[in-house]
């Protein structure tokens, strides 16, 4: 199957944008509505039978999730990546999309993973439940608005490490350039309300580091 033939099949889908990256890679951008049609078409007509992964990207500024379906053909030795964007939803009304489990059985695994990490519900997927993070009860952790650093600061305690011999070295002008505590407080967001404050603190930490570096030289 050459380039013209595959284009002919793909162009049957409305509003499709095709980009031939390489001989073995085709990027396709489609609407959320026509993605299942596209997958069915390339599976039935063009031997793309292996769904190797589903990827999710959180575009928080656009309030959208991007779903990428990677489908491989053993005969063509070519990977079609179908990109689509869905509404990001909110906490009360989480994002929803249709499952492709009826077309590709491995989708069960990938969709369950995305459900856990991003909170996207796939309608028609057989097991929309906890998968790997069985101990986790918070928001889906891969969301961009989940602040892992703030969570860590609230949940865990840290080991202090200030032995006497280190103090001796520090008195002589050596020791640790930037202490772990300083890095942690720079990233500590749960008592800093704005991003500006946080950036400021981080910049201060970087500055302190530079100062030490300069001093060493």
């Amino acid at each position: 199957m050459n380039k013209v033939q595959i284009d002919e099949i793909l162009n049957k889908v409305n509003g499709i944008k095709i980009t031939h990256k390489r001989k073995t890679r085709i990027r396709v951008d489609v609407d959320a509505d026509s993605l299942p049609t596209l997958l069915e078409l390339i599976k039935g007509r063009a031997s793309y039978i292996h769904l190797s992964a589903i990827t999710c990207v959180d575009w928080i500024a656009d309030n959208q999730f991007e779903l990428v379906y990677h489908v491989w053909s053993y005969e063509e030795k070519c990977l079609i990546s179908a990109h689509t964007r869905i509404d990001r939803g909110s906490e009360k009304n989480p994002a929803k999309y249709i499952s492709v489990y009826d077309l590709f059985k491995p989708a069960d695994f990938f969709e369950r993973d995305i459900f856990e990490m991003y909170g996207v519900t796939f309608i028609g997927s057989p097991r929309m439940e906890k998968f790997i993070l069985t101990e986790w009860n918070g928001v889906p952790p891969m969301l961009k608005d989940f602040d892992a650093e703030a969570y860590v600061q609230e949940t865990f305690k840290w080991t202090d490490y200030n032995p006497d011999w280190l103090q001796e070295l520090t008195d002589q002008g050596g020791g640790i350039a930037v202490k772990p505590e300083d890095i942690r407080t720079a990233g500590n967001t749960h008592n800093m309300s704005t991003h500006r404050e946080r950036d400021k603190a981080k910049a201060a930490a970087v500055k302190a580091n530079d100062k030490m570096q300069g001093w060493k030289q």
Binding site: E135, F146, E149, V152, F156, W158, P180
Partner: protein, 231 residues
């Protein structure tokens, strides 16, 4: 500073008791069986440490396959919350005296994964740790040095009291259980009855009990043999 916790000690009438104790400590330090729970990347340093290049066996330390027959629990690398549950179950199955060694920076303070929501940071909040071997990752020499330190600690336990961290788990069970409950939820329960064991070893103190153990008593179900079946 930790305050001294009093335990009810049995009266010892044998005049040679301390001689026997010394002898037992000597023997213990010379023959240790190690269970390596390889959670993270630090495990890669253990094969050279155990095999002919560095040869751990000349220190009297051998690998063991089951927690029930092991003395040392070696935790190599980051401990995720999910793994921590298994580590605690493994630790509680081991017979006393038991020793824990945390290898790599991750067990000390989260290491390079300190920002991660999924890894536990301080191992000694959940179980008493005898020796930490820091480094990312420590070379086999450092592992050997750490084990040598542990051996010395066991040998000199009478003077320095560094080789009996395992007693702390029974003495301050409420503290450790509280930290575990904070992560795993209030209905956390292990199949081992630590309080009964504390009584057996004579290591009950006032801090063995507390509000966390009370919480445990509420929902603790007696142990039943598990049904074996394939789903």
């Amino acid at each position: 500073m930790k305050k001294e916790l009093k335990i009810k000690q049995k009266e010892r009438t044998n005049p040679l008791a301390h001689v026997f104790d010394d002898f037992i400590r000597f023997c213990q330090s010379k023959s240790l069986f190690m269970l390596h729970y390889c959670t993270g990347c630090g495990a890669i340093e253990l094969p050279p440490a155990m095999t002919s290049r560095f040869d751990m066996e000349r220190l009297g330390i051998q690998p063991m396959v089951t927690p029930r027959q092991a003395d040392i629990l070696l935790i190599t690398g980051y401990v995720s919350i999910k793994t921590l549950k298994r580590v605690i179950l493994t630790y509680e199955q081991m017979q006393s005296p038991k020793y824990v060694i945390g290898i790599c920076s991750c067990t000390v303070n989260g290491g390079m994964y300190w920002q991660s929501y999924a890894t536990a940071k301080k191992l000694n909040e959940y179980m008493p740790v005898d020796v930490y071997i820091a480094g990312c990752m420590p070379r086999p020499e450092a592992v050997m040095a750490g084990l040598q330190r542990l051996k010395d600690n066991i040998r000199n336990d009478k003077k320095e009291h560094k080789g009996s961290a395992w007693k702390d788990y029974f003495k301050r069970y409420d503290y450790y259980l509280g930290n575990q409950q904070a992560l795993f939820g209030e209905d956390w329960q292990t199949p081992t009855d630590i309080i009964a064991e504390a009584k057996l070893y004579g290591l009950e103190t006032e801090e063995t009990y507390g509000k966390h153990t009370k919480l445990l008593e509420k929902h603790q179900t007696p142990l039943l043999p598990q049904e074996m079946r394939i789903k």
